[in-house]
Subunit: 418 residues, 2 copies
Amino acid sequence: MSYRILERSSLPDYLDSLPRVKEILGDGGDLDIEEIGDGNLNYVYKIRRSDAPDRAVIVKQAVPYLRMVGESWPLSRDRMTFEIRGLELYNELVPELVPSIYHADEEMSVLVMELLDEHVILRQGMIDGITYPRIGTDIGIFLAETLFRTSALGMDSIERRELMDRFTLNHELCKLTEEFIFTFPLMEHESNYSNPATDAFARTVLRTDTDYKLRVLQLKNLFLTKADALLHADLHTGSLMVNEADTRIIDMEFAYFGPFGFDVGKIIANFLMSYTSHFFHSRDDSYQAWILDEAMKIWRVFEQRFLDLWSQQGDSAMLIDGLLDESELEEFKRRFMLDIFHDTIGFCGCSLARRTVGIAGVADIRDIEDPDTRAELEIINLKLSHLLISRADTIDSIEELESLIRTFYAEQSPRSRN
Amino acid sequence: MSYRILERSSLPDYLDSLPRVKEILGDGGDLDIEEIGDGNLNYVYKIRRSDAPDRAVIVKQAVPYLRMVGESWPLSRDRMTFEIRGLELYNELVPELVPSIYHADEEMSVLVMELLDEHVILRQGMIDGITYPRIGTDIGIFLAETLFRTSALGMDSIERRELMDRFTLNHELCKLTEEFIFTFPLMEHESNYSNPATDAFARTVLRTDTDYKLRVLQLKNLFLTKADALLHADLHTGSLMVNEADTRIIDMEFAYFGPFGFDVGKIIANFLMSYTSHFFHSRDDSYQAWILDEAMKIWRVFEQRFLDLWSQQGDSAMLIDGLLDESELEEFKRRFMLDIFHDTIGFCGCSLARRTVGIAGVADIRDIEDPDTRAELEIINLKLSHLLISRADTIDSIEELESLIRTFYAEQSPRSRN
């Protein structure tokens, strides 16, 4: 269907024309249409049958401009094309961990999907100190299934490049990542966040440390050039909808082939920033202990599931039967996972810095009113970023990483807690 | 124009319909049409005006099967699409080092281009012991200009991914590289070349050395996943047409985004295999001395020109003004070039092995009749492959590499020379 912007008035007829959506909403009755205000980029509608409120869908449509600003800020609708392609693929790979799709139309830049009404955004849940027993495990499984199965270890060479071809042109959003994660936070830039003590630390410690800067640029180079697997590429605690029993990953408009460690490191960084924020949000360290356990579980489960998938895999672009004997394969796996681990620690360090001094902060900390309290926590994140990036290539096991982080946090004593 | 196979009978009318080709061939007179027999994949015609033989062109057309076998071996015509795109780009970047294009048609899978009639294939020239004063320099310049200017250092982020998008689907030829360079030579495989003493060496030394195999697989992983720049991707001494005054690079149907070091290492490996072959072809080591000088010059000129281009470059996907100060930039460049150098040595080692035990040999050695003489030279290549791959990451300068190779060759004393 050729593109037109859906409105409150045209939505009912449009939805009525989509067989699978009609099945979900059922016949008869009016529709309650609620525009959800938090879509900065896109229009997002929550739609329910008035007489049967459990019959409901989400409609998400991209407009050719930035929704929160208006037509004066043009932005290609292509982002929805890649979100559709990403979500379709995830529905094949990990259907239980993403919303179901009822209708997708690249021309119309529209997705109609499952309403997750009994879920909250993980970031908000973690700000509120809620524990989610499955979270580390579910994220680890999601990462392993999506990354392994779109990699040269899990795909044939031809099919893999055909899949890559479907995402190569997601370049506008890639450029945002390159600039806002890997460039502007390293320098004085008008887009950066500002808080005096935090700025001073960034200026005197991070931005004068050549080795730190060059390591970040090496990671930027990996993001620019290394196509290990299809990344979600924006996997933070705001891209997860959760409850005690269920975990769903959303918002894959950044989907792109990039380095394995990017997704893994970014989500772990968001757990660590939540940890830091709970020096303020919590009275004691019990919630922080839970966070760190789950953050480490993300890696542990990811690694285990990745290796399990590898054991079950037949010939791939990378390996074929008869190439390596068992002990060679074991050594290859060891080196391969270690490379991913080092990249993960590096990208984790990048996320910690960019979410602290860059334009996009985390609500866990940015929403704290008092700037001095914020600065205390922000500097903790920057110190941790510095530590992880400087040490990334020498940390060889998750136990070592865990112990390094524990020791680091034990040395912090922000007044926010005292 | 929709696809049809050009024949001797239809070629004159077809060429007559192409304005730029008509300009080259001029009006009147019959055309002499000669099919050049060495096109294994494609049909290649040399076409001249009978009454004005300096008015001439080359016509190259892909057919949807392997030309040397026939319709029973289907092969997609897409390879010509990528050759056209590669050659068009090279005509922008290094017009003096590639044939001029008179007409290109992706639909017709056809290229009409400059006839290089006063040139010989470099491989043949080197077998014949001819020196080419410009060769190392020209290759170095070609590599730097094409690799830098298609990299994240030499392009804007959006334009670069748009360029990548034009080559992502060259997957059939990528798969050939992955298998025939990085996989089959590491194992017993029916496609491999066989010569008893060479086989024995490969079996007992290369294929039992876990570290060697895993390093080759690490390089395979780079080829599969690292999109540093647009590679020629088949740059050997058979892909160069030369004379004393002029160097042209041809046959870019493998063009694909891959690691910098792949092109650089592959062409250097072909120089080294020529060096090895001259234990047989030459009476003394004077030609070998020339080869090694030129091989090292390839790297030296490449590095220098790459850094020159970098100095002239404004903002790019990788770097923007204000990000690094001068000393940081120097250190970044040092690390960046060192990474390329290590990859170059590694890929050079891979080429030495695959051209020795893999299906595609080099005529420099494979055309020697006596199998024992061949085996002597082949084992030298395999030893050098082993040395370079094992040491790739610890060789930190071209002087060190040169000295290592000199020492290595000084220790070889094949009976072929004695």
